[in-house]
Symmetry: C2
Subunit: 194 residues, 2 copies
DNA sequence: CCACATCTTGGTCGATCGCCCAAAGTCTCT
DNA sequence: AGAGACTTTGGGCGATCGACCAAGATGTGG
């Protein structure tokens, strides 16, 4: 972001950001400390406040970056599918597959909670989610979902995926939502009064 | 639970449990401290460790109790509805209405995350969720959902509600999922290969 | 009325917290 | 080589943390 000329500082920054994202998942947002994140990143504790000013700001920036990356991966996989049903199924599958090795949705949830208490986090997260929903809505619209419903369907899909991922934390046997069939509800019948 | 003869001790216990549940919502699981919860409950800090042994155990017990109460309220409201579509709609509405005054789903989410790190919490939460899903499945089965699908639908409804509540934290304008219409997907067509 | 279990008080322990800063180190220019 | 900007070091500040405990208060059954 800043016009710093030194390469070393940037490496430290990214190391701290990565360590912070890891620790939020492992111990929870409120339990990440200056010293623990510095140790994980392999740098001295003082650097946390030199580069980010406060732990809160480091966590905010780290979560936003990691989530942006995840959204990129998910929508990338989605856009590789032409068929609507096939794409949605692969989206659910990728969450199931992602979990054991890299429980990224814990980071999503932690960030949601932090956003409910910290307006700065909320602002950062809002942007990420909005972009995710817009890309999802665009993909849906190109594949047969009526424009009027695309945004609504996108919000539903995003929320369902998060809820599914959340419940899987507790119970790995939770049946996956048949997203493809459910989304068909919108494309087909439409018999609403309001 | 225990055969303690004194009434005073029980009052202290319940006061601490209530204060703990409040603070988990307000500041997050990891940020609830011995002294803050004691102050909120109007008792001395030492009592936390006398009655519960540790902060972790207090939070575990408090969350489980609060969640049990919430499940009771939700399923109670549900079982007051005979019609399937009407009941599901009221379920979604009750979440929307509940939120501004008493964001209980933040407690749900906090507990989910804590459960992913603490087996004791996981055990307590698992029981609550299981009971919720069983009652929901029973209600669905009595109202036309095929028995073979009732459990699957119940899991889907529970996960969708949590996901919806989670996204509402960030964006109050998230459109509500048309649960009644979606659940109709199961009762009606059935064209799956696996 | 007195023993007795239960509950409460008030304080202390070592550890850890976020944050800060002066001094030293490391670069990139001119 | 010397100046100046950037980065790192290592220590230290007061505050707060979870946990613990001896002594006092409270209420109950004999």
């Amino acid at each position: 972001m800043e016009p710093t000329g030194n390469r070393r500082g940037q490496e430290t920054r990214t190391a701290l950001l990565g360590a912070a994202a890891e620790l939020v998942v492992e111990v929870g947002w409120g339990a990440v400390s200056t010293r623990s994140v510095a140790e994980r990143a392999g740098v001295r504790p003082g650097l946390v406040h030199y580069h980010f000013g406060s732990v809160r700001r480091l966590l905010t920036e780290a979560s936003a970056a990691a989530l942006e990356e995840m959204v990129e991966a998910l929508t990338g996989e989605l856009e590789a599918s032409d068929d609507l049903a096939h794409g949605l199924t692969r989206l659910v599958d990728s969450i199931v597959a992602l979990e054991p090795t890299h429980p990224l949705h814990l980071l999503v949830t932690e960030t949601y909670l932090a956003a409910s208490r910290d307006p700065e986090v909320a602002g950062a997260l809002r942007g990420v989610v909005r972009r995710m929903r817009e890309r999802l809505a665009g993909w849906l619209a190109e594949r047969g979902v009526p424009d009027a419903h695309a945004a609504e369907v996108a919000a539903f899909v995003a929320a369902t995926l998060d809820g599914f991922a959340l419940h899987r934390v507790l119970d790995a046997d939770v049946p996956a939502p048949p997203l493809a069939r459910l989304v068909g509800t919108w494309t087909g019948t439409e018999e609403e009064g309001s």
